[in-house]
Protein backbone atom coordinates (compact mmCIF):
# COMPACT_ATOMS: atom_id res chain seq x y z
CA UNK A 1 0.00 0.00 0.00
CA UNK A 2 1.35 3.41 -0.87
CA UNK A 3 0.89 6.51 1.23
CA UNK A 4 -0.63 9.60 -0.32
CA UNK A 5 2.21 12.05 0.29
CA UNK A 6 0.27 15.22 -0.46
CA UNK A 7 -0.01 17.72 2.34
CA UNK A 8 -2.04 20.90 2.80
CA UNK A 9 -0.73 24.09 4.32
CA UNK A 10 -3.34 26.82 4.84
CA UNK A 11 -5.20 25.95 1.66
CA UNK A 12 -2.10 25.29 -0.47
CA UNK A 13 -1.52 21.72 -1.51
CA UNK A 14 2.03 20.43 -1.88
CA UNK A 15 2.82 17.06 -3.52
CA UNK A 16 4.78 16.02 -0.42
CA UNK A 17 5.76 17.49 2.96
CA UNK A 18 9.52 17.79 2.42
CA UNK A 19 10.74 21.33 1.83
CA UNK A 20 14.22 22.75 1.42
CA UNK A 21 14.55 25.21 4.32
CA UNK A 22 15.43 28.88 3.90
CA UNK A 23 19.10 29.62 3.44
CA UNK A 24 19.93 25.97 2.80
CA UNK A 25 18.88 25.68 -0.83
CA UNK A 26 20.57 28.71 -2.37
CA UNK A 27 18.51 29.79 -5.34
CA UNK A 28 17.60 26.17 -6.14
CA UNK A 29 20.16 26.12 -8.96
CA UNK A 30 22.93 24.72 -6.82
CA UNK A 31 20.81 21.83 -5.54
CA UNK A 32 19.38 21.14 -8.99
CA UNK A 33 22.82 19.79 -9.91
CA UNK A 34 22.10 16.89 -7.56
CA UNK A 35 18.35 16.22 -7.88
CA UNK A 36 15.20 17.35 -9.65
CA UNK A 37 13.91 20.16 -7.45
CA UNK A 38 10.36 19.62 -8.75
CA UNK A 39 10.30 16.39 -6.74
CA UNK A 40 10.31 18.05 -3.32
CA UNK A 41 7.30 19.76 -1.78
CA UNK A 42 8.74 23.25 -2.06
CA UNK A 43 11.92 25.27 -2.04
CA UNK A 44 11.99 27.99 0.59
CA UNK A 45 14.28 30.68 -0.77
CA UNK A 46 17.14 32.28 1.06
CA UNK A 47 15.60 35.30 2.83
CA UNK A 48 14.97 38.02 0.26
CA UNK A 49 15.66 41.63 1.23
CA UNK A 50 14.89 44.88 -0.58
CA UNK A 51 18.49 45.78 -1.40
CA UNK A 52 21.63 43.78 -2.16
CA UNK A 53 23.43 42.85 1.02
CA UNK A 54 27.06 41.83 1.52
CA UNK A 55 26.54 40.04 4.83
CA UNK A 56 28.96 39.54 7.69
CA UNK A 57 32.76 39.32 7.59
CA UNK A 58 34.58 35.98 7.79
CA UNK A 59 34.76 33.59 9.51
CA UNK A 60 31.07 32.95 9.02
CA UNK A 61 30.75 29.32 10.09
CA UNK A 62 32.18 26.94 12.65
CA UNK A 63 31.52 23.27 13.19
CA UNK A 64 30.20 22.30 16.62
CA UNK A 65 29.19 18.84 17.89
CA UNK A 66 26.36 17.63 15.60
CA UNK A 67 25.83 21.22 14.61
CA UNK A 68 26.95 24.22 12.71
CA UNK A 69 27.30 27.73 14.00
CA UNK A 70 26.76 30.37 11.36
CA UNK A 71 26.62 34.13 11.05
CA UNK A 72 26.18 34.80 7.34
CA UNK A 73 24.35 38.10 7.73
CA UNK A 74 21.69 37.48 5.09
CA UNK A 75 23.99 38.03 2.11
CA UNK A 76 21.87 38.25 -1.01
CA UNK A 77 21.28 40.11 -4.25
CA UNK A 78 18.04 41.88 -3.25
CA UNK A 79 14.46 41.49 -4.40
CA UNK A 80 15.02 42.90 -7.89
CA UNK A 81 17.52 40.21 -8.87
CA UNK A 82 15.42 37.59 -7.10
CA UNK A 83 12.37 38.48 -9.20
CA UNK A 84 14.28 38.83 -12.47
CA UNK A 85 16.65 35.90 -12.21
CA UNK A 86 16.16 33.45 -9.35
CA UNK A 87 12.38 33.07 -9.17
CA UNK A 88 11.84 32.56 -12.95
CA UNK A 89 14.62 29.96 -12.97
CA UNK A 90 13.07 28.05 -10.05
CA UNK A 91 9.66 28.08 -11.72
CA UNK A 92 11.11 27.03 -15.08
CA UNK A 93 12.36 23.85 -13.41
CA UNK A 94 8.95 23.07 -11.95
CA UNK A 95 9.98 24.13 -8.44
CA UNK A 96 7.40 25.43 -5.99
CA UNK A 97 8.69 28.61 -4.42
CA UNK A 98 8.11 29.76 -0.88
CA UNK A 99 9.61 33.23 -0.59
CA UNK A 100 11.31 33.95 2.72
CA UNK A 101 11.40 37.67 3.49
CA UNK A 102 13.65 39.66 5.84
CA UNK A 103 13.69 43.37 6.58
CA UNK A 104 14.74 46.08 8.97
CA UNK A 105 11.19 47.08 9.85
CA UNK A 106 7.53 46.35 9.19
CA UNK A 107 7.57 48.70 6.20
CA UNK A 108 10.35 46.79 4.44
CA UNK A 109 8.70 43.44 5.11
CA UNK A 110 5.41 44.82 3.74
CA UNK A 111 7.05 46.17 0.59
CA UNK A 112 8.71 42.81 -0.03
CA UNK A 113 5.42 40.99 0.50
CA UNK A 114 3.69 43.30 -1.95
CA UNK A 115 6.29 42.83 -4.68
CA UNK A 116 6.66 39.10 -4.20
CA UNK A 117 2.97 38.34 -4.15
CA UNK A 118 2.48 40.46 -7.27
CA UNK A 119 4.95 38.16 -9.05
CA UNK A 120 3.55 35.03 -10.61
CA UNK A 121 4.50 31.76 -8.97
CA UNK A 122 5.17 32.46 -5.29
CA UNK A 123 3.23 29.77 -3.42
CA UNK A 124 3.65 31.13 0.08
CA UNK A 125 5.53 33.76 2.02
CA UNK A 126 7.61 32.90 5.06
CA UNK A 127 8.40 35.81 7.36
CA UNK A 128 11.89 35.48 8.83
CA UNK A 129 11.45 37.16 12.20
CA UNK A 130 14.99 36.35 13.38
CA UNK A 131 16.30 39.64 12.03
CA UNK A 132 17.66 42.41 14.25
CA UNK A 133 15.00 44.96 15.07
CA UNK A 134 16.76 48.34 14.72
CA UNK A 135 14.48 49.71 17.46
CA UNK A 136 14.84 46.62 19.61
CA UNK A 137 18.14 47.31 21.39
CA UNK A 138 19.92 44.25 20.00
CA UNK A 139 16.83 42.06 19.94
CA UNK A 140 15.25 40.36 16.95
CA UNK A 141 11.64 40.89 15.90
CA UNK A 142 10.90 37.37 17.15
CA UNK A 143 12.03 38.31 20.67
CA UNK A 144 9.04 40.59 21.22
CA UNK A 145 5.57 39.20 20.44
CA UNK A 146 4.20 42.72 19.83
CA UNK A 147 6.98 43.58 17.34
CA UNK A 148 6.64 40.21 15.62
CA UNK A 149 2.88 40.72 15.34
CA UNK A 150 3.38 44.16 13.82
CA UNK A 151 5.61 42.69 11.11
CA UNK A 152 3.28 39.76 10.45
CA UNK A 153 0.28 42.05 10.23
CA UNK A 154 2.08 44.32 7.76
CA UNK A 155 3.07 41.37 5.60
CA UNK A 156 -0.41 39.83 5.67
CA UNK A 157 -1.99 43.16 4.72
CA UNK A 158 0.27 43.53 1.68
CA UNK A 159 0.21 39.94 0.48
CA UNK A 160 -2.29 38.73 -2.11
CA UNK A 161 -5.13 37.15 -0.16
CA UNK A 162 -4.76 33.69 -1.74
CA UNK A 163 -1.07 33.40 -0.74
CA UNK A 164 -0.57 32.01 2.78
CA UNK A 165 1.78 33.85 5.12
CA UNK A 166 3.83 31.74 7.52
CA UNK A 167 5.73 33.36 10.39
CA UNK A 168 9.06 31.73 11.14
CA UNK A 169 9.77 31.80 14.86
CA UNK A 170 12.85 31.36 17.00
CA UNK A 171 12.68 28.84 19.83
CA UNK A 172 14.99 30.71 22.19
CA UNK A 173 12.41 33.27 23.28
CA UNK A 174 10.89 33.74 26.74
CA UNK A 175 7.43 32.45 25.78
CA UNK A 176 7.19 30.65 22.47
CA UNK A 177 3.48 29.95 22.74
CA UNK A 178 2.73 33.62 23.44
CA UNK A 179 4.81 34.57 20.39
CA UNK A 180 2.99 32.01 18.25
CA UNK A 181 -0.37 33.26 19.47
CA UNK A 182 0.56 36.89 18.75
CA UNK A 183 1.53 36.01 15.18
CA UNK A 184 -1.69 34.06 14.60
CA UNK A 185 -3.73 36.92 16.01
CA UNK A 186 -1.89 39.17 13.55
CA UNK A 187 -3.37 36.86 10.86
CA UNK A 188 -0.44 34.59 10.12
CA UNK A 189 -1.89 31.61 8.23
CA UNK A 190 0.67 29.26 9.70
CA UNK A 191 3.96 29.05 11.58
CA UNK A 192 7.43 27.75 10.76
CA UNK A 193 9.33 26.32 13.71
CA UNK A 194 12.23 26.76 14.39
CA UNK A 195 14.95 29.14 13.28
CA UNK A 196 18.57 28.56 14.34
CA UNK A 197 19.29 28.91 18.05
CA UNK A 198 21.59 31.68 19.31
CA UNK A 199 24.86 30.10 20.30
CA UNK A 200 28.56 30.72 20.39
CA UNK A 201 31.88 28.94 20.20
CA UNK A 202 35.32 30.27 21.09
CA UNK A 203 38.29 29.34 18.94
CA UNK A 204 40.67 27.58 21.37
CA UNK A 205 43.68 28.89 19.46
CA UNK A 206 42.84 32.58 19.28
CA UNK A 207 40.45 32.68 22.27
CA UNK A 208 38.20 34.82 20.10
CA UNK A 209 34.65 34.00 18.99
CA UNK A 210 34.75 31.30 16.31
CA UNK A 211 32.46 33.29 14.01
CA UNK A 212 33.07 36.97 13.37
CA UNK A 213 29.64 38.00 14.59
CA UNK A 214 30.41 36.64 18.06
CA UNK A 215 27.06 35.00 18.63
CA UNK A 216 25.75 33.01 15.67
CA UNK A 217 22.89 30.67 14.90
CA UNK A 218 23.19 26.99 15.78
CA UNK A 219 21.62 24.53 13.36
CA UNK A 220 21.88 20.83 12.60
CA UNK A 221 20.94 17.70 14.59
CA UNK A 222 22.12 19.36 17.83
CA UNK A 223 18.93 21.47 17.86
CA UNK A 224 16.46 18.82 16.68
CA UNK A 225 15.04 18.00 20.13
CA UNK A 226 14.43 21.74 20.63
CA UNK A 227 12.56 21.84 17.32
CA UNK A 228 10.47 18.81 18.29
CA UNK A 229 9.57 20.37 21.64
CA UNK A 230 8.69 23.69 19.99
CA UNK A 231 6.41 22.08 17.41
CA UNK A 232 4.83 19.90 20.10
CA UNK A 233 4.10 22.81 22.43
CA UNK A 234 2.73 25.11 19.74
CA UNK A 235 0.58 22.36 18.21
CA UNK A 236 -0.84 21.57 21.66
CA UNK A 237 -1.74 25.22 22.19
CA UNK A 238 -2.91 26.02 18.66
CA UNK A 239 -3.99 22.71 17.09
CA UNK A 240 -5.78 24.38 14.16
CA UNK A 241 -2.70 26.30 12.98
CA UNK A 242 -0.67 24.56 10.26
CA UNK A 243 3.00 24.19 11.17
CA UNK A 244 6.14 23.63 9.15
CA UNK A 245 8.69 21.91 11.39
CA UNK A 246 12.41 22.27 10.91
CA UNK A 247 15.62 22.02 12.86
CA UNK A 248 18.29 19.36 12.44
CA UNK A 249 16.34 16.96 10.24
CA UNK A 250 18.81 14.47 8.83
CA UNK A 251 16.74 11.36 8.05
CA UNK A 252 13.20 10.33 7.18
CA UNK A 253 12.76 9.22 10.80
CA UNK A 254 13.65 12.74 11.95
CA UNK A 255 11.05 14.18 9.57
CA UNK A 256 8.45 11.71 10.89
CA UNK A 257 9.26 12.83 14.44
CA UNK A 258 8.36 16.44 13.58
CA UNK A 259 5.15 15.35 11.80
CA UNK A 260 4.13 13.37 14.87
CA UNK A 261 4.86 16.40 17.05
CA UNK A 262 2.35 18.37 14.99
CA UNK A 263 4.00 19.66 11.81
CA UNK A 264 2.18 19.28 8.47
CA UNK A 265 5.41 19.73 6.51
CA UNK A 266 9.09 19.52 7.30
CA UNK A 267 12.01 21.73 6.33
CA UNK A 268 15.39 20.21 5.53
CA UNK A 269 18.24 22.59 6.26
CA UNK A 270 21.83 22.20 7.36
CA UNK A 271 22.09 18.53 6.38
CA UNK A 272 21.99 19.71 2.77
CA UNK A 273 25.42 21.27 3.26
CA UNK A 274 26.88 17.85 3.98
CA UNK A 275 24.55 15.79 1.77
CA UNK A 276 23.40 17.83 -1.23
CA UNK A 277 20.76 15.25 -2.18
CA UNK A 278 19.40 15.02 1.40
CA UNK A 279 15.93 16.37 0.51
CA UNK A 280 15.09 13.55 -1.89
CA UNK A 281 16.71 10.92 0.33
CA UNK A 282 14.66 12.10 3.33
CA UNK A 283 11.51 12.12 1.19
CA UNK A 284 12.15 8.52 0.12
CA UNK A 285 12.89 7.42 3.70
CA UNK A 286 9.80 9.18 5.04
CA UNK A 287 7.60 7.57 2.40
CA UNK A 288 8.92 4.13 3.38
CA UNK A 289 8.34 4.77 7.08
CA UNK A 290 4.77 5.95 6.48
CA UNK A 291 4.04 2.91 4.35
CA UNK A 292 5.50 0.57 6.97
CA UNK A 293 3.16 2.11 9.51
CA UNK A 294 0.18 1.75 7.21
CA UNK A 295 -0.58 5.46 6.93
CA UNK A 296 -2.98 6.23 4.08
CA UNK A 297 -1.93 9.85 4.01
CA UNK A 298 0.58 12.18 5.66
CA UNK A 299 -2.10 13.88 7.75
CA UNK A 300 -2.75 10.56 9.52
CA UNK A 301 0.45 10.94 11.52
CA UNK A 302 0.41 14.72 11.99
CA UNK A 303 0.18 15.31 15.72
CA UNK A 304 0.21 11.58 16.54
CA UNK A 305 2.52 12.24 19.49
CA UNK A 306 -0.35 14.10 21.19
CA UNK A 307 -2.63 11.09 21.51
CA UNK A 308 -3.11 9.75 25.04
CA UNK A 309 -0.52 7.34 26.40
CA UNK A 310 -1.60 3.80 25.61
CA UNK A 311 -3.70 4.76 22.58
CA UNK A 312 -2.55 2.58 19.67
CA UNK A 313 -1.12 4.20 16.56
CA UNK A 314 -3.95 2.49 14.66
CA UNK A 315 -6.37 4.86 16.39
CA UNK A 316 -4.86 7.91 14.68
CA UNK A 317 -4.48 5.98 11.44
CA UNK A 318 -8.25 5.44 11.44
CA UNK A 319 -8.28 1.69 11.89
Amino acid sequence: MTTDMRTRLAGRELPNPVMAAAGCAGTGRELAQFFDIARIGAVVTKSVMLEPRAGRPAPRVAETPSGMLSAIGLQGPGVEVFLQRDLPWLLSRGGRAVASVAGAGAGEYAELARRLSAAEGVEMIEVNLSCPNPAGGGLDFADDPAEAARVVHAVRSHTRSDIPVFAKLAADVPDLVALARACVEARADGLSLINSVRAMAVDPRTLRPAVAGGVGGLSGPAIRPIAVASVYRVHAALPEVPLIGMGGVRTGADALELLAAGASAVGVGTVTFSDPSACVRILRELEELLEERGADRVSDVVGAAHRPAGAPLGAVLGR
Binding site: E30, P52, Q75, P77
Partner: protein, 303 residues
Amino acid sequence: MSDNGPVQTRSPVLTVRRVDAYYAITVVAPQIAERFRSGQFLSVAVGGEQSSMLLRRPFAIHDVKPDYGGTVEFLFAVRGPGTAWLAERRQRDLLDVVGPLGRPFPLPRDPVNCMLAGGGSGAAPLFPLAHALRRRGCRVDFVLGAASADRVFSAISARRIAETTTFTTDDGSFGVRGRVTDALERAMDDARSDVVYACGPMPMLRTVAAVAARQGVPVQVAVEETMACGTGICMSCVIPVVGEDGITRMVRACVDGPVFRGERVRFDDVGTIPFDALGAPGWKARGEDSADPQSGVADREAG
Protein backbone atom coordinates in the same frame (compact mmCIF):
# COMPACT_ATOMS: atom_id res chain seq x y z
CA MET B 1 21.74 16.00 -13.16
CA SER B 2 24.06 17.75 -15.59
CA ASP B 3 26.89 16.39 -17.68
CA ASN B 4 29.74 18.49 -16.38
CA GLY B 5 28.48 19.53 -12.95
CA PRO B 6 29.48 17.83 -9.72
CA VAL B 7 28.24 14.39 -8.71
CA GLN B 8 27.86 12.76 -5.31
CA THR B 9 29.31 9.27 -5.15
CA ARG B 10 30.09 6.56 -2.65
CA SER B 11 33.61 5.81 -3.70
CA PRO B 12 35.77 2.89 -2.59
CA VAL B 13 39.20 3.79 -1.26
CA LEU B 14 41.94 2.36 -3.44
CA THR B 15 44.99 3.48 -1.47
CA VAL B 16 45.94 5.55 1.56
CA ARG B 17 49.61 6.58 1.52
CA ARG B 18 51.91 8.77 3.55
CA VAL B 19 53.60 11.39 1.40
CA ASP B 20 56.13 13.20 3.56
CA ALA B 21 54.10 15.11 6.14
CA TYR B 22 50.83 14.45 4.32
CA TYR B 23 48.39 11.69 3.53
CA ALA B 24 47.22 10.89 0.02
CA ILE B 25 43.95 9.03 -0.57
CA THR B 26 43.01 7.65 -3.96
CA VAL B 27 39.37 6.75 -4.51
CA VAL B 28 37.66 5.08 -7.46
CA ALA B 29 35.29 7.74 -8.82
CA PRO B 30 34.91 7.48 -12.61
CA GLN B 31 32.28 10.23 -12.89
CA ILE B 32 34.46 12.68 -11.02
CA ALA B 33 37.59 11.67 -12.93
CA GLU B 34 35.94 12.14 -16.32
CA ARG B 35 34.54 15.57 -15.44
CA PHE B 36 37.66 16.87 -13.72
CA ARG B 37 39.64 19.85 -14.97
CA SER B 38 42.71 21.08 -13.10
CA GLY B 39 42.04 23.51 -10.29
CA GLN B 40 38.79 21.82 -9.29
CA PHE B 41 38.32 20.22 -5.89
CA LEU B 42 36.21 17.62 -4.16
CA SER B 43 34.62 17.39 -0.74
CA VAL B 44 34.45 14.39 1.54
CA ALA B 45 32.05 13.60 4.36
CA VAL B 46 33.92 12.52 7.50
CA GLY B 47 33.08 10.34 10.47
CA GLY B 48 30.51 8.00 8.94
CA GLU B 49 26.75 8.27 8.56
CA GLN B 50 25.97 9.22 12.16
CA SER B 51 28.97 11.52 12.40
CA SER B 52 28.81 14.49 14.74
CA MET B 53 31.03 16.30 12.21
CA LEU B 54 28.50 17.76 9.82
CA LEU B 55 30.69 19.67 7.44
CA ARG B 56 32.35 18.11 4.44
CA ARG B 57 36.11 18.62 4.12
CA PRO B 58 37.22 20.21 0.83
CA PHE B 59 40.44 19.04 -0.87
CA ALA B 60 42.11 20.00 -4.12
CA ILE B 61 42.35 17.14 -6.60
CA HIS B 62 46.01 16.23 -6.97
CA ASP B 63 45.88 13.47 -9.55
CA VAL B 64 43.43 11.73 -11.85
CA LYS B 65 44.13 8.35 -13.45
CA PRO B 66 42.19 6.12 -15.84
CA ASP B 67 42.66 2.98 -13.67
CA TYR B 68 39.46 1.13 -12.61
CA GLY B 69 37.41 3.40 -14.85
CA GLY B 70 38.80 6.55 -13.23
CA THR B 71 40.45 7.41 -9.91
CA VAL B 72 41.08 10.70 -8.16
CA GLU B 73 43.67 11.46 -5.51
CA PHE B 74 43.62 14.15 -2.86
CA LEU B 75 46.09 15.13 -0.16
CA PHE B 76 45.71 16.38 3.35
CA ALA B 77 47.52 16.94 6.61
CA VAL B 78 45.92 15.72 9.84
CA ARG B 79 44.66 18.91 11.45
CA GLY B 80 41.70 17.74 13.55
CA PRO B 81 39.31 14.85 14.20
CA GLY B 82 37.92 14.92 10.64
CA THR B 83 41.25 14.54 8.89
CA ALA B 84 42.39 12.06 11.58
CA TRP B 85 39.37 9.91 10.69
CA LEU B 86 40.27 10.15 7.01
CA ALA B 87 43.86 9.10 7.70
CA GLU B 88 42.50 5.88 9.27
CA ARG B 89 40.61 4.82 6.15
CA ARG B 90 41.69 1.58 4.55
CA GLN B 91 41.38 0.01 1.12
CA ARG B 92 37.77 -0.75 0.12
CA ASP B 93 36.25 1.58 2.74
CA LEU B 94 33.60 3.76 1.14
CA LEU B 95 33.86 7.54 1.15
CA ASP B 96 31.01 9.94 0.38
CA VAL B 97 32.63 12.22 -2.19
CA VAL B 98 31.19 15.22 -4.07
CA GLY B 99 33.06 16.60 -7.06
CA PRO B 100 34.46 18.00 -9.15
CA LEU B 101 33.64 21.36 -7.60
CA GLY B 102 34.56 24.91 -8.54
CA ARG B 103 35.90 26.63 -11.62
CA PRO B 104 39.05 25.18 -13.15
CA PHE B 105 42.21 27.00 -14.19
CA PRO B 106 41.82 28.61 -17.60
CA LEU B 107 44.41 27.27 -20.02
CA PRO B 108 46.23 29.47 -22.53
CA ARG B 109 45.47 28.97 -26.21
CA ASP B 110 49.10 29.28 -27.22
CA PRO B 111 52.18 27.39 -26.01
CA VAL B 112 53.40 30.04 -23.57
CA ASN B 113 55.80 29.88 -20.62
CA CYS B 114 53.92 29.12 -17.42
CA MET B 115 55.25 29.66 -13.89
CA LEU B 116 53.52 27.54 -11.25
CA ALA B 117 53.99 28.70 -7.65
CA GLY B 118 52.73 26.70 -4.69
CA GLY B 119 53.01 26.67 -0.93
CA GLY B 120 52.88 23.47 1.16
CA SER B 121 50.08 21.04 0.37
CA GLY B 122 48.35 23.98 -1.33
CA ALA B 123 50.56 23.13 -4.30
CA ALA B 124 48.51 19.96 -4.98
CA PRO B 125 46.32 21.33 -7.81
CA LEU B 126 49.39 22.56 -9.69
CA PHE B 127 50.40 19.03 -10.69
CA PRO B 128 47.42 18.12 -12.90
CA LEU B 129 47.64 21.70 -14.21
CA ALA B 130 51.28 21.17 -15.16
CA HIS B 131 50.34 18.05 -17.13
CA ALA B 132 47.51 19.87 -18.91
CA LEU B 133 49.83 22.74 -19.80
CA ARG B 134 52.51 20.39 -21.08
CA ARG B 135 49.95 18.66 -23.30
CA ARG B 136 49.31 22.07 -24.86
CA GLY B 137 53.00 22.54 -25.53
CA CYS B 138 53.52 25.09 -22.77
CA ARG B 139 56.79 25.40 -20.89
CA VAL B 140 56.25 24.74 -17.18
CA ASP B 141 58.45 25.98 -14.34
CA PHE B 142 57.81 25.45 -10.64
CA VAL B 143 58.56 27.39 -7.50
CA LEU B 144 57.48 25.29 -4.54
CA GLY B 145 57.84 26.34 -0.96
CA ALA B 146 57.08 24.99 2.49
CA ALA B 147 57.98 25.36 6.14
CA SER B 148 60.48 22.51 6.06
CA ALA B 149 61.83 19.75 3.80
CA ASP B 150 59.14 17.20 4.75
CA ARG B 151 56.45 19.66 3.72
CA VAL B 152 57.80 20.40 0.26
CA PHE B 153 55.38 18.67 -1.85
CA SER B 154 55.98 16.12 -4.63
CA ALA B 155 59.49 17.36 -5.35
CA ILE B 156 60.28 14.43 -7.62
CA SER B 157 57.21 14.71 -9.81
CA ALA B 158 57.74 18.47 -10.06
CA ARG B 159 61.25 17.89 -11.39
CA ARG B 160 59.92 15.37 -13.88
CA ILE B 161 57.29 17.68 -15.35
CA ALA B 162 58.96 21.07 -15.20
CA GLU B 163 61.75 22.71 -17.15
CA THR B 164 63.11 24.12 -13.89
CA THR B 165 62.03 23.69 -10.29
CA THR B 166 63.02 26.03 -7.46
CA PHE B 167 62.41 24.88 -3.91
CA THR B 168 62.25 27.11 -0.87
CA THR B 169 61.91 26.24 2.80
CA ASP B 170 61.43 28.59 5.72
CA ASP B 171 64.14 26.78 7.69
CA GLY B 172 66.50 26.21 4.76
CA SER B 173 66.33 22.41 5.21
CA PHE B 174 65.72 22.00 1.47
CA GLY B 175 66.42 24.30 -1.48
CA VAL B 176 66.69 28.02 -0.88
CA ARG B 177 66.03 29.43 2.59
CA GLY B 178 63.06 31.78 2.43
CA ARG B 179 59.63 31.94 0.95
CA VAL B 180 58.21 31.10 -2.45
CA THR B 181 57.75 34.76 -3.14
CA ASP B 182 61.44 35.50 -2.41
CA ALA B 183 62.49 33.21 -5.26
CA LEU B 184 59.64 33.91 -7.64
CA GLU B 185 60.81 37.06 -9.38
CA ARG B 186 64.20 35.63 -10.29
CA ALA B 187 62.65 32.34 -11.47
CA MET B 188 60.19 34.26 -13.63
CA ASP B 189 63.00 36.26 -15.22
CA ASP B 190 65.02 33.12 -15.94
CA ALA B 191 62.05 31.28 -17.41
CA ARG B 192 60.71 34.32 -19.28
CA SER B 193 57.32 33.52 -17.81
CA ASP B 194 54.26 34.72 -19.72
CA VAL B 195 51.70 33.71 -17.09
CA VAL B 196 51.70 32.70 -13.42
CA TYR B 197 49.48 30.15 -11.69
CA ALA B 198 49.54 30.07 -7.90
CA CYS B 199 47.96 28.09 -5.06
CA GLY B 200 48.58 28.35 -1.38
CA PRO B 201 47.77 30.44 1.65
CA MET B 202 46.26 33.88 1.14
CA PRO B 203 49.38 35.92 2.18
CA MET B 204 51.45 34.01 -0.38
CA LEU B 205 48.87 34.57 -3.10
CA ARG B 206 48.79 38.26 -2.29
CA THR B 207 52.55 38.56 -2.77
CA VAL B 208 52.56 36.41 -5.92
CA ALA B 209 49.83 38.61 -7.39
CA ALA B 210 51.87 41.71 -6.55
CA VAL B 211 55.03 40.27 -8.15
CA ALA B 212 53.14 39.30 -11.28
CA ALA B 213 51.54 42.74 -11.48
CA ARG B 214 54.97 44.37 -11.19
CA GLN B 215 56.20 42.27 -14.09
CA GLY B 216 53.04 42.87 -16.09
CA VAL B 217 52.29 39.16 -16.25
CA PRO B 218 48.74 37.79 -15.82
CA VAL B 219 48.24 35.61 -12.75
CA GLN B 220 45.61 33.05 -11.83
CA VAL B 221 45.29 32.20 -8.14
CA ALA B 222 43.44 29.31 -6.52
CA VAL B 223 42.33 30.34 -3.03
CA GLU B 224 41.97 28.13 0.05
CA GLU B 225 38.94 29.29 2.01
CA THR B 226 37.00 27.72 4.84
CA MET B 227 33.87 26.15 3.36
CA ALA B 228 30.80 24.50 4.82
CA CYS B 229 29.08 23.12 1.72
CA GLY B 230 31.40 23.55 -1.27
CA THR B 231 28.36 23.69 -3.56
CA GLY B 232 27.49 27.38 -3.39
CA ILE B 233 24.55 27.33 -1.00
CA CYS B 234 25.93 28.27 2.43
CA MET B 235 27.71 31.57 1.59
CA SER B 236 30.45 30.95 4.14
CA CYS B 237 33.50 31.09 1.83
CA VAL B 238 33.02 34.56 0.38
CA ILE B 239 35.91 36.87 -0.48
CA PRO B 240 35.88 40.38 -1.98
CA VAL B 241 36.49 40.24 -5.73
CA VAL B 242 36.30 43.08 -8.25
CA GLY B 243 34.09 42.33 -11.24
CA GLU B 244 34.54 43.31 -14.90
CA ASP B 245 32.34 46.31 -14.15
CA GLY B 246 34.68 47.54 -11.40
CA ILE B 247 32.23 46.69 -8.62
CA THR B 248 33.45 44.66 -5.65
CA ARG B 249 31.24 41.75 -4.69
CA MET B 250 31.46 39.16 -1.94
CA VAL B 251 31.74 36.07 -4.12
CA ARG B 252 31.81 32.44 -3.18
CA ALA B 253 35.25 30.83 -3.38
CA CYS B 254 33.62 27.43 -3.93
CA VAL B 255 31.59 28.09 -7.08
CA ASP B 256 32.78 31.48 -8.36
CA GLY B 257 36.37 30.27 -7.64
CA PRO B 258 38.51 28.77 -6.29
CA VAL B 259 40.43 30.12 -9.29
CA PHE B 260 40.39 33.90 -9.74
CA ARG B 261 42.42 36.37 -11.72
CA GLY B 262 44.95 37.60 -9.19
CA GLU B 263 44.42 41.28 -9.81
CA ARG B 264 40.68 40.95 -9.14
CA VAL B 265 41.01 39.60 -5.59
CA ARG B 266 41.16 42.29 -2.92
CA PHE B 267 43.70 40.44 -0.82
CA ASP B 268 44.08 43.24 1.72
CA ASP B 269 40.36 43.10 2.43
CA VAL B 270 39.93 39.32 2.69
CA GLY B 271 38.08 38.52 5.91
CA THR B 272 36.28 41.87 5.88
CA ILE B 273 33.38 43.43 4.04
CA PRO B 274 34.98 46.39 2.19
CA PHE B 275 32.88 49.52 2.59
CA ASP B 276 32.45 49.81 -1.18
CA ALA B 277 31.41 46.18 -1.73
CA LEU B 278 27.99 45.63 -3.24
CA GLY B 279 25.50 45.53 -0.39
CA ALA B 280 27.96 46.60 2.33
CA PRO B 281 26.50 48.66 5.18
CA GLY B 282 25.92 52.14 3.81
CA TRP B 283 26.36 50.96 0.23
CA LYS B 284 24.17 52.78 -2.29
CA ALA B 285 23.24 51.62 -5.77
CA ARG B 286 24.86 53.77 -8.44
CA GLY B 287 22.38 54.34 -11.25
CA GLU B 288 22.58 51.61 -13.87
CA ASP B 289 25.02 49.40 -11.99
CA SER B 290 24.17 45.77 -12.06
CA ALA B 291 23.09 44.42 -8.74
CA ASP B 292 23.89 40.91 -9.79
CA PRO B 293 26.51 39.40 -7.47
CA GLN B 294 27.35 36.66 -9.93
CA SER B 295 28.08 38.78 -12.99
CA GLY B 296 31.45 40.14 -13.83
CA VAL B 297 33.52 37.44 -12.18
CA ALA B 298 32.98 34.78 -14.80
CA ASP B 299 35.65 36.18 -17.07
CA ARG B 300 38.43 33.63 -17.12
CA GLU B 301 40.64 34.43 -20.10
CA ALA B 302 44.16 33.18 -19.55
CA GLY B 303 46.98 35.49 -20.43
